[in-house]
């Protein structure tokens, strides 16, 4: 991949030009760029802060409350897990009834009891994947 960086003080807006062989490749890059700046409003104590989707490691729903986990912080959100599921970018996948993980932050898969899978995140947190969702994850990383 060749990346050309041009800094022009006269430009008022960011301009991106993508050249590739196929439409699919261009679409993937466009999705990645648009998702890079997509944010989700979360609550940290009493303050509402926008969190980039790319910085989110996983979502967990506990007692109808949604918690958003980043590398070293936990935020809460007023949204429900199904709302997140409809908004989430393609890097996110559901791994249990109450959890959605960001696959781009996953480091490794390990086996766990009862045919379940354990995902080790890049911050070394471990999340259990329910056996019903293992197939979805396999399909996702296989490009299905």
């Amino acid at each position: 991949m060749i990346i050309k960086k041009v800094v022009d003080p006269l430009k008022k807006e960011i301009e991106i030009t993508i050249s590739a062989n196929t439409d699919e490749e261009i679409d993937n890059i466009v999705v990645a760029i648009t998702n890079a700046n997509k944010t989700l409003l979360c609550t940290d104590d009493r303050e509402t802060v926008p969190i980039k989707w790319n910085d989110i490691f996983y979502f967990e729903s506990v007692d109808k409350k949604l918690f958003v986990y980043t590398k070293d912080k936990i935020f809460s959100s007023s949204k429900r897990l199904y709302e997140i599921e409809s908004e989430m970018t393609d890097k996110f996948v559901r791994c249990s009834k109450s959890c959605i993980i960001n696959l781009s932050k996953a480091k490794q898969f390990k086996t766990s009891f009862g045919s379940r899978l354990e995902v080790v995140m890049t911050n070394n947190e471990k999340i259990i994947v329910n056996r019903n969702y293992v197939k979805d994850i396999k399909n996702k990383i296989s490009g299905g």
Binding site: L103, Q108, F109, K110, T111, G114, S115, K138, I141, G143
Partner: protein, 143 residues
């Protein structure tokens, strides 16, 4: 239909590994007892047992039986199921005449087959996990 063929192929390749594992374990166990020969009938028996054990292990490991039990409990249940099936069918059809020390050998035979199955399953799941981790790395490097 495609699913049935897929399951059939999986069981067949798995049964092959169970057979190999069982044969090795059985030969080692018998050599410990001082017997160094394996008869053709035993090999046929091991093949049939491997197919049976593959079916039982597949039932426990797939979603057919949706029970939340520990790995040890699962292995113990599989072993018990295999023993019950083999001894019950043997009692009805009398394909093995068991008496005295032969009971011990037969039990050893089943145990070897089951351990072979567990070993084969461990190897297969380890290989599957390695493939999955490789795919994850590929998926994340393509971001």
């Amino acid at each position: 239909m495609k699913k049935i063929i897929e399951v059939g192929v999986n069981i067949k390749s798995f049964a092959g590994m169970v057979f190999m594992g069982a044969l090795i374990i059985y030969m080692i166990a018998k050599s410990i007892l001082g017997i160094y020969e394996v008869s053709f009938i035993t090999i046929i028996g091991l093949a049939i047992m491997a197919a049976l054990i593959s079916g039982v292990i597949f039932l426990f490991e797939s979603d057919v039986i949706n029970r939340k039990i520990s790995r040890f409990h699962k292995i113990a249940d599989q072993y018990l199921a295999v023993c019950i099936i083999v001894f019950a069918t043997n009692h009805i059809f009398n394909y093995f005449i068991l008496s005295g020390i032969q009971y011990l050998y037969f039990l050893l035979f089943i145990t070897a087959c089951h351990l072979g199955g567990v070993l084969a399953f461990y190897i297969i799941s380890k290989m599957e996990l390695d493939v999955l981790n490789f795919k994850l790395k590929k998926y994340n490097s393509g971001l």
